[in-house]
């Protein structure tokens, strides 16, 4: 980025000359190209804005929500492939929570469907495998009596429902509360600090990466193959050095604010009737799945 100053309004200067005049500068705006147009700021969570909605679910203690999500995911994952009734029960449960939380259902569902392509690649192997025989650990003893398609349905539905649970958690809990909840549930402090820094700085560093790529694309739009890879390597190195130096500044700033080795904790946690109700509901739902 040397010599390329990025101003907020998009205007910048570099020296150049017109015919018959000496080299000079004047501010101008670059034609926007396709690299620059879809400039999306990277946020810690895709649902950062949703976490600021005011609703009963948002107001719940983060620990209760984390535990409920864990219980539901465990219930979904450990049960046999979900039967239609179970699947419907679970969908209604999630939709009800989303409604109580006043979340935009369409956006939530759209995001949750992103898990399906990944799951489908493996899920579609199951029918093949059921018909093809037993080359694997579980199949060696021919324990697979089930229909392969049922297995595929099990994988897809479980992946989707679990992902939906986690997205509901992410959409109804502010990042700081979620991290605090994880900390008080026993996740080691160093690890929570790593998570916190990822959440806090990925936007900044992602934007830096983005402007580096724009700089690269505007100087060498036709890079391919090894040359492109070498350039990407240099971008990576550049970001490493800058992040390292940012880390030094961040630490100095933290020391200046009284950092003593642990991140400060706000204690607004509560475990009231609503929190207990949420966990109990999750437990009931999970047991219903397990027993049915």
């Amino acid at each position: 980025m040397a010599g390329h100053e990025h101003h907020a309004d998009g205007f910048h200067q570099h020296p150049h000359e017109h015919a018959g005049t000496p080299p000079h500068r004047h501010p101008h705006h670059h034609r926007t190209d396709e690299v620059a147009v879809p400039h999306q700021h990277t946020h810690a969570t895709s649902f950062e804005s949703l976490t600021y909605i005011v609703s009963p679910v948002h107001a719940l203690d983060a620990r209760a929500k984390i535990l409920a999500a864990l219980v539901l995911v465990l219930g979904v994952v450990t049960t046999a492939p979900l039967r239609p009734a179970e699947f419907a029960l679970f969908c209604i449960l999630l939709a009800a929570v989303a409604a109580i939380a006043r979340l935009p259902l369409r956006r939530l569902v759209g995001r949750s469907l992103a898990v399906l392509p990944v799951a489908a690649t493996i899920a579609l192997l199951a029918p093949l495998q059921a018909s093809g025989g037993s080359w694997n650990a579980a199949g060696l003893a021919a324990a697979w009596s089930g229909d392969g398609w049922l297995v595929a349905w099990g994988i897809l539905s479980k992946a989707w429902l679990s992902a939906s649970c986690m997205l509901l958690l992410a959409a109804t809990t502010r990042t700081a509360d979620l991290l605090q909840g994880l900390r008080s549930l026993g996740v080691p402090a160093v690890f929570v600090m790593l998570l916190a820094f990822i959440a806090r700085y990925v936007g900044v560093l992602g934007d830096q990466l983005h402007s580096l790529r724009i700089a690269l694309a505007s100087r060498a739009p036709h890079l391919r193959g090894r040359a492109l890879m070498r350039a990407l390597g240099s971008i990576t190195g550049n970001l490493f050095v800058r992040s390292y130096e940012r880390g030094e500044r961040v630490y100095a700033a933290m020391l200046a604010r009284g950092y003593t080795g642990t991140l400060p904790v706000s204690t607004t946690a509560r475990m009231g009737a609503a929190e207990v109700l949420l966990i109990v509901t999750a437990l009931l739902a999970a047991f219903a799945l397990a027993l049915y």
């Binding site: 810690a44 895709s46 009963p56 995911v73 994952v77 046999a80 492939p81 039967r83 239609p84 009734a85 029960l89 209604i92 449960l93 409604a99 109580i100 992103a114 898990v115 799951a119 493996i122 192997l125 495998q129 694997n136 650990a137 199949g139 324990a143 089930g146 229909d147 099990g154 992946a159 679990s162 990042t175 979620l178 160093v190 690890f191 790593l194 820094f197 990822i198 806090r200 700085y201 990925v202 560093l205 990466l209 090894r226 890879m229 990407l232 390597g233 990576t236 190195g237 550049n238 490493f240 992040s243 390292y244 880390g247 030094e248 080795g261 109990v280 739902a285 047991f287 219903a288 027993l291």
Partner: protein
Amino acid sequence: MHIPDGMLQAPTWVPAWLGSAGVLAYAIREVRRRLSDGTIVMMAVMAALIFALQMLNFPVAGGTSGHFAGGAAAAIVLGLWPAMLVMAAVVTVQAVFFADGGITALGANMLTMAIIGPLVGHGIYRAITRLRDTRTAKVTGAFASAWIACVAAALAAGCLLWLSGRAPLIPVLGAMGFWHALIGLGEGAITAGLVSYLLAVRPDLLARDARMPADARSVRKTALGLAAIAIVAVGISFLASANPDGLEFVYEHLGAAFEESSVLGGAMPDYVIPGMGNETLAGVLAGLVGLILTGVLVYGLLTAVRSRRAQQAE
């Protein structure tokens, strides 16, 4: 490579969770013991960087694209234990905030991407740079370690899928290996570029790792531990398939029961008067869940109406 929930079975994901948790707990201990607060903060910013760099897409043969993973790069620049923690944090954020990779599968995803990747990458890079401590050796070592780490992590993920009976061994290893051998070229090239850039600009950053040497003994202990867990997991998987446990027993029965359950029965079909059977109990529980949800919804609706009325009254 992010395995979602529901794909791995309990005999696979439980040992994977325990194994990763153990290794990471050890890594946390090492990091706290050896690194100053300042270095830990630096490491945390680097974690954010690795997360951001995973958005770095590059074209792979065939019109698709792969993205940078960074396990080997982190191990080369930060050292083995910090790299494991950094990668584990990245994978965790992806799972918890983005539902990218499952929660029960988080242990498995950590195992492949946060433990095996950095472990292999670190080992290869150290081995090569120990042979020859030249610039060429470091850049080549970076390429080789990143490529091998990428392929190793993919093969490990393939093995986990195989252990769960989700895919036949040879084909899944072939597919994962082939694909990630291609993606690994990009990963390797970027890692090599990174190392050569750092050698030119800030060679001191590469030397930092020397301050936190991963002594061979603890690495060997970790590797042995992982191998033991793998053997146990394989054993459990085979046992589980030989003697269908409760879960699979239920599952086998379901094959037949699946058609019987009424599709039109709504959320809670098969209501029987309480008295016996799991199904009845499940129905009661489902009814309770429905009751609670309805109650909360109605309550929420009523409060909303009341507050609107109050607003109108003002």
